[in-house]
Symmetry: C2
Subunit: 520 residues, 2 copies
C-alpha cells in the first residue's frame, strides 16, 4: 500500500521502512545479546578472559624486550591461546594437556624419523618422509576410531598428527627444524601456561560444578513434572485441554510437565561431556565422583521415561470417569506429594553436598505407596470371563442383593444398552417393578460401575505410579552411592527427632505383596 501511494512519497516511505527495519533488527539483536549474557553471566566473564589472555599473549610479540627473547615463534603462543582456552577449566585442561602431550610425542617420533632419514640420500629421504607421513596419518586416523581414545584423547591425537607432519615435512628443507620445534614447544608452553592460569585462578568455571548443578536441576524438574502431572490428572478441566494437545504434537514443548522432564531425557551426551572435562579437573581427579554423576544421570533418565509414560496417561483417548478417579485421588495425591518431597530432598542433599539418608523419618514414600496399595486392595475382586454371561450374573447379583438386604446396598444399574444380548437377557429376568427401584439410587459410599476398558487408563496410571516408586528407589540408591564416592559431608540429624541408621536402604520388594496366581 505504501509503495503505491505516490512516486515521491514511496521513496521516503521505503527509506523510512528500511530505517525502521534496521532499528527493529538492531533492537532484536541487542535484546538477543543481552539475553545470552543474562542467561549465564559466566559467558561474559569468559569472553573478557579470552580477550585479556589474547592481549597478554600478544605482548610477547608486541613488546620489544620480550620479542627479543622469544622471537618470531611468539605467534604460536597466540595460536595456542585461541585454540586451548575453553569455557570451563576442565575443557581447557583437557585441550591444553592433550595439546602438550600430542606435541611432545609428535616431536619425539619426528626426531626419530629424521635420524633414520638423514642416513639416506636426498631422493630416498623424500620417499621415506612421504611413506612415513602416509603410515602415521593412516594409523593415527584409525586410532581415533577406538572408543577409549576417541573419548579421552581425540584432540591430542589430532595435534600429534598435525605437529608430526609439520616437523617431518619441514625437516626436508629446513636444517634447523629441531631448533624451531624446540622454540615452538617453548612458546606453546607459554600459551598453555597463560590459558591454565586464566582458567584455574581467574573466575574459574568448573565442569564438575556444572554437572553437579545440572543434576540438582534434574531432580527439581522431575519433582515439578510429577506434581503437575498428578494435579492435571485429578482435575477434569485441564485434562480436556490436554486432549487437544495430543493432536498438536509441537504444543507438547510448552507443557510444564514436558518442560520438567525434558532436560533429563536428552542429558546423556551433555552429561558425558561434562564428566569428561570434570575428570581433568584437579578437585575431581581424586574422587572419581564424575562417573557416579553419569550413573545417576542414567538412572534419572530411566526414572524420567516412567514420567513420560505417566504423562501419556493424561493424553489417552479413553478416560477413566472422573467419579472413579476421585475414589483414588487422596492416596495418589499423597504418594505423588511424598515422591515430590523425596525428589526435592534428594536434590537438596546433592546441592548441599550432604549425604542422603534414605531412612530419615521424612521419607514417607513407602507408607504412601502402602496406602495406595491398600486402597486398591480394598476394591472387590474382578470377574473376568471369556463369554459375556457374567453380565447377567452381575445383574442377578444386584437383584439378589436388593431382595435379601433391602436398602443396605444401593447401586445404580448401568443404562441399558439395547444391542447387548446379555443386557437384553437381563431385562427378561428383571420385572418392571424391580427396574424402577434399582435405577435412580446412588448413595455417598455407594458402588460405581464401569467398563473394564474404562478402568484401564486409571489402572495404567496407578501401576505407573507404583513403577515410579520402584525407579525412585534405584535413584535413591545411586544418590547414596554418590554421597559415599564424592565424600559428601555426613547427614545431619538436627532436624530429625528419631535417630536412625543409614546402613541399609529399603527396597521396594519388602513393601510389595508377593505375587500369587489365581486358583485355577
Amino acid at each position: 500500500m505504501e509503495v503505491m501511494s505516490g512516486k515521491n512519497n514511496s521513496f521516503c516511505l521505503n527509506n523510512g521502512d528500511v530505517v525502521e527495519k534496521i532499528k527493529r533488527l538492531g533492537r532484536l539483536t541487542c535484546r538477543k545479546i543481552w539475553k545470552v549474557g543474562k542467561e549465564d553471566k559466566r559467558r561474559v566473564i569468559h569472553s573478557l578472559k579470552v580477550g585479556i589472555s589474547l592481549s597478554l599473549v600478544s605482548l610477547l610479540y608486541l613488546m620489544e624486550p620480550l620479542f627479543k627473547g622469544i622471537g618470531e615463534n611468539a605467534i604460536w603462543a597466540v595460536m595456542t591461546v585461541v585454540v586451548v582456552l575453553e569455557f570451563t577449566t576442565g575443557a581447557t585442561l583437557y585441550k591444553g594437556l592433550n595439546r602438550g602431550l600430542g606435541t611432545l610425542l609428535a616431536g619425539l617420533l619426528a626426531f626419530l624419523i629424521e635420524r633414520i632419514a638423514n642416513e639416506s640420500g636426498h631422493i630416498f629421504h623424500a620417499a621415506f618422509i612421504g611413506t612415513a607421513v602416509f603410515l602415521v596419518g593412516a594409523v593415527t586416523t584409525y586410532m581415533r576410531f577406538f572408543s577409549h581414545i576417541k573419548k579421552n584423547y581425540d584432540y591430542g591425537v589430532v595435534i600429534f598428527l598435525l605437529t608430526f607432519n609439520l616437523i617431518t615435512v619441514s625437516s626436508y628443507r629446513v636444517d634447523s627444524v629441531l631448533k624451531i620445534a624446540h622454540e615452538r614447544f617453548y612458546t606453546i608452553a607459554i600459551g598453555c601456561g597463560i590459558c591454565l592460569l586464566m582458567s584455574l585462578f581467574i573466575f574459574p568455571i568448573w565442569s564438575g560444578e556444572d554437572l553437579h548443578l545440572s543434576t540438582v536441576a534434574k531432580f527439581e524438574g522431575l519433582a515439578k513434572s510429577i506434581e503437575v502431572c498428578i494435579n492435571e490428572y485429578f482435575s477434569d478441566g485441564i485434562i480436556n485441554q490436554q486432549e487437544e494437545k495430543v493432536r498438536n504434537y509441537s504444543m507438547e514443548m510448552e507443557d510444564p510437565i514436558y518442560k520438567g522432564y525434558k532436560a533429563v531425557l536428552d542429558s546423556k551426551s551433555s552429561d558425558e561431556t561434562l564428566a569428561l572435562y570434570a575428570s581433568w579437573e584437579p578437585r575431581y581427579l581424586r574422587s572419581c565422583s564424575w562417573q557416579q554423576y553419569v550413573k545417576l544421570g542414567t538412572v534419572l533418565r530411566h526414572f524420567g521415561y516412567t514420567i513420560v509414560a505417566l504423562h501419556g496417561c493424561l493424553q489417552t483417548e479413553i478416560k477413566t470417569p472422573q467419579s472413579v478417579r476421585v475414589l483414588f485421588k487422596d492416596p495418589c495425591n499423597r504418594l505423588a506429594r511424598e515422591m515430590t518431597k523425596t525428589l526435592k530432598e534428594l536434590g537438596d542433599s546433592i546441592r548441599n553436598r550432604r549425604k542422603y539418608c534414605p531412612e530419615i523419618p521424612s521419607n514417607h514414600v513407602h507408607e504412601a505407596l502402602q496406602d495406595l496399595i491398600d486402597v486398591l486392595k480394598s476394591q472387590p475382586r474382578l470377574f473376568l470371563s471369556t463369554n459375556s454371561n457374567t453380565n447377567i450374573l452381575l445383574a442377578l447379583a444386584t437383584l439378589a442383593t436388593r431382595q435379601k438386604s433391602g436398602k443396605d446396598f444401593l447401586l445404580s444399574l448401568p443404562s441399558v444398552n439395547n444391542d447387548d444380548p446379555a443386557r437384553l437377557g437381563l431385562s427378561h429376568v428383571l420385572k418392571e417393578g424391580d427396574k424402577k427401584i434399582l435405577r435412580p439410587t446412588l448413595s455417598k459410599n455407594g458402588i460405581t460401575s464401569l467398563e473394564f476398558l474404562e478402568a484401564l487408563p486409571f489402572a495404567a496410571f496407578a501401576s505407573l505410579l507404583v513403577e515410579t516408586v520402584a525407579r525412585l528407589d534405584l535413584v535413591i540408591e545411586q544418590v547414596v552411592e554418590l554421597g559415599k564416592v564424592a565424600q559428601f559431608k555426613e547427614f545431619s540429624h538436627d532436624d530429625v527427632v528419631i535417630n536412625v541408621s543409614c546402613d541399609n536402604n529399603p527396597r521396594v520388594e519388602s513393601e510389595f505383596p508377593s505375587s500369587h496366581t489365581a486358583a485355577d
Copy 2:
C-alpha cells in the same frame, strides 16, 4: 604360587609370565584393531584416505618444481588437511567451508585494522593492535554462545579469531604480512581442495546416508523390542528370570528388549550432529530432508519411551496371574505382531526411499487394536466402591446364579481369606452345602476372579499397548511427511491387491470409542 616355588625358578617363570602377558596383550590389541575395522569398514577406507591426502599434500613441499612455485607456505596445506579432512563428506565440507569463510573474513578485517593502524605512530600502533585483539577476542568468543552460531559456524568463528590474531599481530613486525596472508590463503585453498576432492569423489561417506540408515535401524530395533516384550510377557518362565533383572540394574544392558530401544533413546545428539553435517552435503541441501529426519527421530524417541514403560511392566513386582494374562494373549499378540510388521514396513519404505502409504491393506494395526478393545469390552463391568460390602454382593451373585441357573454358570470362589471381614460376613450367608458345590468347579469358558491390585499390571500393559498404537500413528505421520519432503519415489501397488488412496492417514481417534463417564 609360581613365585614361591624357588628363587632360580621364579625368575624364569616371571620371565615366561611377562612374555605370556605381552603375547596376550598383543593378541587382545590385534583383536581390538580387527574389531574396530570390522564394525565399520569405512573406517579403514577413511584412514587410508587421510594417509594418501597427507602424502599428496606433502609433495607440494617435497617435490622441487612444486615447492619452487608455492614456497614455504606449502606447510599450511598440510596443516589444513590434518584439521579439515573428516570422516564424512558433510563434516569435511562443514569444516572446510567454515575454515575458508573464517579465514577470508579475518583477512578482510585484519586488512582494515592494519590500514587504520598504519596511519599512527609506532607506540600507538602497538596499543591499537592490543586493543583490537582484546575487543575482537572478547566479542568473537561471546558470539560463540549464540545457539545458532554455535550450532552452524562454531569452527568458522574459531578459525576467524585464529587467523585475525595471526595476521594482526604479525603485521606489527612483518611488513609483507598481507602478501604472506595471501599466499597462505592460497595454500589453505589447495589443502581444502584436496580434502573436498578426497571426500566428495573417492569413496565418499555421507552423513545423510548415516542418518538415513540409523533411522532405519531404529525402526528395526523398536520392532524387535516389541516382539520380545510381548513374548516374554506371555511366557511365564522368562518372566521369572526378568524378576531377577530388576535387582541387578546393570544386567539390563544385556537385555534384548533394552538393546532394541537403546539406540533410539539416546539418539538426540548424534541425530543432530549427523543432520548438521548432512545439511552441508550437496545432495541434501535442496530437500532439507535432514530436518525431517531429526523430527522423525524425536517422534521415535517418544515412541521408545512407551516401549520402556512396556518393558517396565515385565519387571514389576506385582504380577497379573498367568491364567488371566492368557485370556488376552491372542489379541495382544496380534496387536504386537501388527505393530512389529508396520514398524518393519516403515523401516523398509525408508530404506528403499519409497513413500509409505498408511492405508495399504497390510496395515491391520487398527483392526488388531479394535479386536483387543472388543475383548476388553466383553469383560463385565467392574464394581468399585469405597467400602468392602461389594465382596458380599459378589458372593451373593454367585449364590443367586447357582440357585437360578443350576449348572449353567460354573465358577470358582476365591479361597476364603479369614481376616477379611467381608468374606467372614459371606460365610454367614452361605450355607455349608452351598460352599461345597461352589468350591472346586471351573469350566473352560469359566470366570476367573482376581484382586483389583492383581489386575493393575495387566491393565497397565494393555493401556500402554493402546498408547503405543497412538504413538505409532504419530510416527507414521512423520514417515509420510518424510516421504514428501525427501521426494521418495511413489508407493508401488505391485504387491497390493486393492487400490487405495493415500490422501489421508487414519488417526487413532476414529478407532477409539468415545470416552463417556459413568452415570452418577
